[in-house]
Symmetry: C2
Subunit: 296 residues, 2 copies
């Protein structure tokens, strides 16, 4: 059995895979203070269910190079840790570690049969993962496809969590959509309930609420521009949208596709933009593929 682990901000998802199939999944609440405790919990949860471990793949937030977490903004106790070494105190099984968005990208790419894929996760922030010829682009600093921090705006100038202004995720995330909607209050009529959130705004737009419609239009325009900019650099042929905001579905997709065409160079305008297939299991799948299918 191989195991795919997806470490999130509040919980850890673990999937048990057999011959490419997810046969069981469970989650562990993330309430640890050290990397050792986290590794203990994952290892114990696996070994209490299965006798042997073929390998464990792990997706984790942060900048990761060659299995080493150089920094993790969300889970501070993982900064400068080597989870592989910690796991190897317990098992000789193969352990592989990768950034969570990259894991999701790899999961979707393998599952859907794409050798090249730009995967974009639209949640509280914006994450990205690029698969080229079946391999993740990790980058020299583990910053490969940090799409959320592409400079994409000189108009709204919202401050990003990274300290800079104009990053993609200041506009094209759930937080960004709320930022935009708030900036439109007083300028457009609305019956969207406060406090604003991404779902309420999308629901409003679907019912032609004036403010919500305008907010989604701006959101989609900036996202389309960001994707056009990414595609003119890495030309993946296929872009996949995942994460909570992508639950807005076709309604979001057609608007983003239209904006993409507005900004994209003619040669790449037939790039497919599609919705993710695996939902919140993508990270587990990708972590599994990484450890089960990749050469060392």
């Amino acid at each position: 059995m191989y195991f795919g682990v997806d470490i999130g901000g509040t919980s850890i998802k673990v999937g048990a895979f057999n011959s490419g199939k997810l046969v069981e999944k469970w989650s562990i609440k993330l309430d640890f203070k050290t990397a050792e405790e986290l590794v203990d919990a994952i290892y114990n949860s696996i070994i209490s269910r299965y006798d042997s471990i073929g390998g464990i793949g792990i997706g984790c937030p942060g900048f990761i190079i060659d299995n080493f977490i150089s920094s993790s903004a969300n889970i501070h106790f993982l900064n400068q840790t080597n989870l592989v070494t910690l796991f190897h105190l317990k098992t000789n099984a193969k352990i592989r570690l990768v950034n969570d968005a990259n894991a999701a990208a790899l999961g979707e790419a393998f599952f859907c049969g794409y050798k090249n894929l730009l995967f974009v996760t639209l949640g509280t922030g914006v994450g990205g993962g690029l698969v080229i010829n079946g391999n993740i682009l990790e980058g020299a600093h583990g910053a490969g496809m940090e799409l959320g921090h592409l400079h994409n705006d000189d108009v709204y100038n919202f401050t990003c969590g990274c300290g800079k202004k104009g990053c993609v995720e200041t506009l094209s995330s759930a937080t960004g959509l709320v930022n935009i909607a708030k900036s439109l209050v007083g300028k457009y009529k609305t019956s969207v309930k406060e406090p604003f959130n991404a779902k309420r705004i999308f629901d409003g737009a679907k019912e032609n609420d004036e403010l919500a419609t305008k907010a989604v239009e701006i959101f989609s325009d900036y996202l389309g521009k960001a994707l056009a900019n990414a595609c003119i650099l890495v030309d993946p042929g296929i872009v996949m949208l995942g994460g909570g905001v992508s639950n807005a579905g076709e309604f979001l997709l057609v608007r983003v596709q239209e904006a993409f065409k507005k900004y994209a160079l003619p040669i790449i305008q037939d790039t497919k933009i599609i919705l993710a297939a695996l939902g919140d299991e993508a990270g587990m799948y990708g972590a599994y593929y990484l450890v089960a299918n990749k050469e060392d």
Copy 2:
């Protein structure tokens, strides 16, 4: 013997390589009307000098996928042609074709011993090539690292050759620098001679000409922003500046490095930005490496 060919807008450079060393180079004036004539000229120039051909690598402007030129804006008669097939009417030697900026990227990367490199050529336009793990990122449409068409500006809004506004090459090319300088006339004092060109403006800036200094400052700021945006997506660790404008040397480099730091996410701020090593031989070297060293 292996041969590296670099097809440019006005001439074709050919290099003969032996065990990694460039042993002879010559050029052919580009005054052909068909792809057949071009192939004839290259083949005849080689076979008149050398008895046997181990392989021919070719760098060529345009969007190229798997040796096929889907479009070439500069050399129209090469649109939708397969130069490999044409060469194979004359020789059974291995023939490989790649975009010219990608060839230059590969040439610099191999020559300097970098497995990962973002190469940027600053000339009349702006080209880019990305080498990841020793391989060129060609892209699904052959548009990999078309940095010149990254949307980078909503202030000047100069129209690009591609028809869009705000592309990197409307500001950060030789043409772009002239665009910027012209827009500053009347606002800053200058003794730079008209008609403006990139060399005159850089020379002026080096002597503290007010307008030229401001133009180079704006040019460098936008270029630094473009490079920061590219690096947050592909995180190469090393960026190399080539092309005619890069002859401005250290004077340009320090300004671009400073602007890069202003826009780059902290994790990638130590990305090295350096000047190209091979000058106008990079394309020949890259085309040679492609055919001599790469697996099929």
